[in-house]
C-alpha cells in the first residue's frame, strides 16, 4: 500500500517535472520594447483614434506538445496611456475615465488556451480594469519563433480582442455613449525564452 502510494507520488512528481520542462517560460520583452498594447476607439463615430499603453510587464508559458498548459499574464500601468495628446491623456487618467490613481494597474491572467492549429488559438482569461474583472477572449496568432542574433530564443504573437467600455464603469463612458462602446485592442507580444 505504502509502496503503491510512494510509487504514484514519485510518478506524479516525475510527470510534473517532465511537463514543467516541456513548457517553455518566456518573459515579454518590454525592456527592448518588442511588445505593444495598442487600442482603437472611434471618435464621434467618424474616425479611429489610436493609443497605447507604454508600460507593462508580463510573461507566458508555451508548451508546443501540450498547448493546454499555455498561460499568459500581463500587468499594465494605466498611467502610461499615450494617445499622443497630453491634455487628452491627462483626461483619460482622471477619475472621469481610468481613475489611474485609484486603479493604477490593469491585469490579464489567462484561464484557458484553445488551440486551433496553424499557430491560431483563442486565449481566455480574466481581465481586470478599474477594479472590474471580466472574462475576455483574445484571438491569437503566432507570428514566429526562433533564435535571435544575440544568443536568445524568441517567440511572438499578435492578439486582438474587443472590450466594451460600459463594462468598466467609467463616468465619461456613459456620456460618450454608443459610439465609444467598443474598444479594439491589438496586442503584439514578443517573449524571450528564459
Amino acid at each position: 500500500m505504502l509502496k503503491k502510494t510512494l510509487f504514484s507520488l514519485v510518478f506524479m512528481l516525475g510527470l510534473g517535472a517532465a511537463t514543467a520542462q516541456a513548457a517553455e517560460h518566456y518573459v515579454i520583452d518590454t525592456k527592448g520594447m518588442h511588445a505593444f498594447i495598442t487600442f482603437r476607439i472611434q471618435h464621434l463615430g467618424y474616425s479611429w483614434l489610436e493609443g497605447r499603453f507604454n508600460r507593462f510587464t508580463g510573461d507566458f508559458d508555451y508548451d508546443e506538445a501540450n498547448p493546454s498548459n499555455n498561460r499568459v499574464s500581463v500587468e499594465i500601468d494605466i498611467a502610461s496611456i499615450d494617445s499622443n495628446h497630453a491634455e487628452r491623456d491627462k483626461h483619460l487618467r482622471s477619475e472621469r475615465f481610468f481613475d489611474a490613481k485609484k486603479f493604477p494597474k490593469a491585469t490579464f491572467v489567462s484561464t484557458a488556451w484553445e488551440n486551433h492549429g496553424n499557430g491560431k488559438a483563442t486565449l481566455k482569461g480574466k481581465f481586470t480594469l478599474r477594479g472590474v474583472t471580466k472574462d475576455i477572449s483574445i484571438d491569437v496568432s503566432q507570428i514566429g519563433a526562433g533564435k535571435d542574433p544575440w544568443g536568445g530564443f524568441r517567440r511572438g504573437f499578435v492578439g486582438t480582442t474587443t472590450l466594451h467600455l460600459s463594462n468598466y464603469r467609467m463616468k465619461e463612458g456613459n456620456i460618450l455613449g454608443p459610439v465609444a462602446e467598443n474598444v479594439q485592442l491589438w496586442l503584439s507580444i514578443e517573449g524571450v525564452r528564459q
Binding site: 491634455e87 491623456d89 465619461e172
Partner: protein, 194 residues
C-alpha cells in the same frame, strides 16, 4: 494723469496693468473651474480651454513688463502699521511668484507632448520642455494648487483693500482706482523693495 508712479500715487500704466491682470486672473480662475467639468459633447468643450490658454498667454505676456515697470518706478507709500506694510510687500512678491508659477505650469500641461499652444488663432507658442514622465499630470496638479492659492490671495488682497478704504479710510484703494486727489500719505514710512 501721469503715466509713471510717484511716491503718492500710481500712474496710468500701473493702474491699467493691475486691473487688466486682475480681470484676466479672476476670469481665468472661473473659466478654468468651469471648463474642467464640461462633458465631451458640450459646445464649449473645446472653446473654453482654447480661450483659457489664450488668456493665460496674455497674463504671461503682461507679467514681465509689469515687473519691469514696477522696478523702474517709485512705489507709492504703503499705508498701515509696520506689520501691514511688511505683509503687503510679501503678498505682492508672492503674487508675482504664483502668477509666474500658474502660467508656467499651465504651459507645461498643454505642451507636455510637444504640441504648441495656439493663441486666439494668431500664432503658436512652441513647446520647449516636453516629454517628461507624466508631465501633464504633475504640471496639472501644480497648476491647480497654485491657482487656488492665487485666488485665495487675491481674495485676501481685495478684502485688505476694502479694509483700508472703509476702516482705515486711507487712499490705498482710491489711488488704484484712478486719478483721485493728491493727498499726503498718512505715514512717512516708505517701505520699498530692495
Amino acid at each position: 494723469m501721469p503715466l509713471r508712479n510717484d511716491p503718492k500715487r500710481y500712474g496710468l500704466v500701473s493702474i491699467l496693468l493691475h486691473w487688466t491682470m486682475a480681470a484676466l486672473i479672476i476670469g481665468l480662475f472661473f473659466l478654468g473651474e468651469y471648463m474642467v467639468d464640461l462633458d465631451y459633447y458640450h459646445p464649449w468643450y473645446q472653446k473654453a480651454p482654447d480661450l483659457h490658454r489664450s488668456l493665460g498667454f496674455l497674463v504671461a505676456a503682461l507679467l514681465l513688463p509689469r515687473w519691469i515697470w514696477r522696478l523702474i518706478n517709485p512705489l507709492p507709500v504703503i499705508e498701515g502699521k509696520p506689520w501691514e506694510q511688511r505683509t503687503a510687500v510679501w503678498v505682492h512678491r508672492l503674487f508675482y511668484v504664483l502668477i509666474a508659477g500658474a502660467v508656467i505650469s499651465g504651459y507645461l500641461i498643454s505642451t507636455a507632448d510637444g504640441q504648441g499652444i495656439d493663441v486666439f488663432g494668431w500664432f503658436d507658442i512652441p513647446a520647449v520642455f516636453y516629454g517628461a514622465e507624466n508631465q501633464e499630470d504633475i504640471a496639472g496638479e501644480l497648476h491647480e494648487v497654485l491657482t487656488h492659492i492665487l485666488f485665495l490671495l487675491a481674495l485676501l488682497h481685495g478684502l485688505a483693500a476694502l479694509k483700508h478704504h472703509f476702516i482705515d479710510r486711507d487712499p490705498t484703494l482710491r489711488r488704484m482706482l484712478g486719478p483721485g486727489e493728491r493727498r499726503s500719505p498718512s505715514s512717512l514710512t516708505n517701505v520699498t523693495e530692495e
